[in-house]
């Protein structure tokens, strides 16, 4: 078996006195799409933030390509090839599309060849090239999601963390986001996806983890969870 790109072991996290993650374990295999599904408040975003270094866990370990990054600052993680596309997109609203993208390459490891990367992002998202001088705050939610993803790609990640990329998007845009995730996997990127939209996420995912109240309740290949009686009843409304 190939070594996982990301390993999370016994992860525990808390907001003040309230513990929200309880010994969460999961792996992300290189080249795969791994998804975390679960209801609001199950702990998906907390896991993403812990892996990206935006919050410090109270226990457990996070290994990226074999290296312990549990306590590493977020900029070190970006620089070593891990990029978070945050929930709510968080583009820089007062800056243009191009300024947003160029800032994405601010990590030292991304500096060389960032013009090629910009060309690559424009090839993947022609819409961003058309709008390169537009202020990001004036774009639609779907366009901002593309921009957030493009900005994340500018850091030349090997592992992309996508936190709720379809939140608040129109159905046609949701489809496009998942299409993009497929393309990124085909280009060799590894993706960890937190998604409320369980059905589409499971159809796409190589490996899936169902979270309930801060614990992994069920795990397996995406197709397997899709067929599971419990998942169908609780999350797919069947």
């Amino acid at each position: 078996m190939i070594a996982p790109m990301l390993s999370v072991r016994n992860l525990r996290a808390a907001y003040g006195p309230v513990q929200v993650l309880f010994d969460v374990d999961f792996d992300v295999a290189p080249g795969s799409v791994t998804t975390l599904i679960g209801a609001n408040g199950a702990g998906k975003t907390t896991i993403m933030k812990s892996v990206a270094g935006l919050m410090m866990p109270i226990g457990g370990a996070i290994l990226f390509e074999g290296r312990d990054i549990t306590r590493a600052p977020s900029h070190d993680r970006v620089n070593s090839g891990l990029s978070l596309i945050p929930e709510g997109r968080l583009v820089f609203p007062g800056m243009t599309v191009e300024q947003n993208l160029r800032l994405g390459a601010i990590a030292p490891a991304a500096r060389s060849g960032h013009s090629e990367m910009l060309a690559d992002v424009f090839r993947r998202f022609p819409r961003l090239e058309e709008r390169r001088s537009q202020h990001a705050g004036l774009m639609s939610g779907g366009e901002q999601q593309m921009l957030a993803l493009g900005r994340g790609l500018m850091a030349r990640p090997r592992l992309i963390l996508m936190d709720e990329p379809t939140l608040g998007l129109a159905p046609v845009m949701v489809k496009q986001v998942f299409e993009t995730i497929r393309e990124l996997r085909a280009s060799g990127f590894t993706i960890l996806l937190a998604e409320q939209n369980a059905r589409v996420a499971l159809e796409l995912a190589d490996q899936a983890y169902l979270l309930e109240n801060g614990r992994v309740a069920l795990s397996g290949p995406g197709a397997e969870l899709l067929d599971s009686h419990d998942v169908r009843r609780a999350y797919l409304g069947m």
């Binding site: 990206a52 270094g53 935006l54 600052p73 977020s74 900029h75 993680r77 970006v78 620089n79 990029s83 978070l84 596309i85 945050p86 968080l90 583009v91 820089f92 609203p93 007062g94 800056m95 160029r102 800032l103 994405g104 601010i106 990590a107 991304a110 900005r151 994340g152 500018m154 850091a155």
Partner: protein, 299 residues
Amino acid sequence: MRLGSALWIALAGFGAAVPFFGSTYLMGVVFQVAMWIALAQSWSMLSATTGYLSLGHAVFYGVGAYVCVLLTGIIPFEFAILAAAGSAALFAALIGLPVLRVRGPYFVILTYGLSELVRHVVMRIESALGSFGRMIFDVPAQEVLLWWMVGLAVLATLGAYAIRHSRFGAGLAAIREDEVAAQTIGVPVTRLKLLAFIASAAIPGAVGGLALLRTSYFEPAQAFDPVISFTIVTMALVGGTDSVRGPILGAMGFALLSELLWSTLPQLYMIVLGLTLIVFVLFVPRGLSGLVGRIGGAR
């Protein structure tokens, strides 16, 4: 923009040449203008770039003045000025981490409160030592002080320009736009904020030292006067925070205005300062720099 740069160089040259042809009065005016340019420009290194509005920059000016008065007569004044800059930078480094943890209005209030705290501490120390103001006797010639101050204004302007056009400045702009997003794209947020804070404190320390030598009198309530902080913020905002020429325009405008009003109606100066700030914040958000840009057709 090349014309603009030539204009600024000519202006700095004029300032430095004033002792050869100008009156003592004109030297005083140029000293004031250069001083406010240096202060407003330094302030902009932190506050215009990151959006962390400091309302306590008087503390760095005061620390510089205090260090300078303690060292004058012990070491040559050039070293006292450098020590003043170094102490202000060191002070910023020490308080930076806790202070920069808070954002928005809390940062504004905290910087103001901190500056007032230091002012009162120094006042207590001085009165406990039985000193009610310290005189300095052996001060350098006025033109030497003027050259130093013009040099600091130029240095602050070049520094602010260099920061804005560097990767460091790009990181600071990301912090201003959205600090969490900046963190996710790999900006070392805490480190950059601290560096900007230190950079914006150093020159005000030296300015405080020079201003002290010029008046040859140290009195804590004056050296840490919160009006210094208010004036810096007003000048920078009225001048415009989008470009380095903003603080220059704002400082020049107000320093000249104060010269006009001071002799006739001194009380009117603070009123005009306040009114102008209100008008600009409400109606001219991009400041004098934005107005000049629109007229000149430049960015």
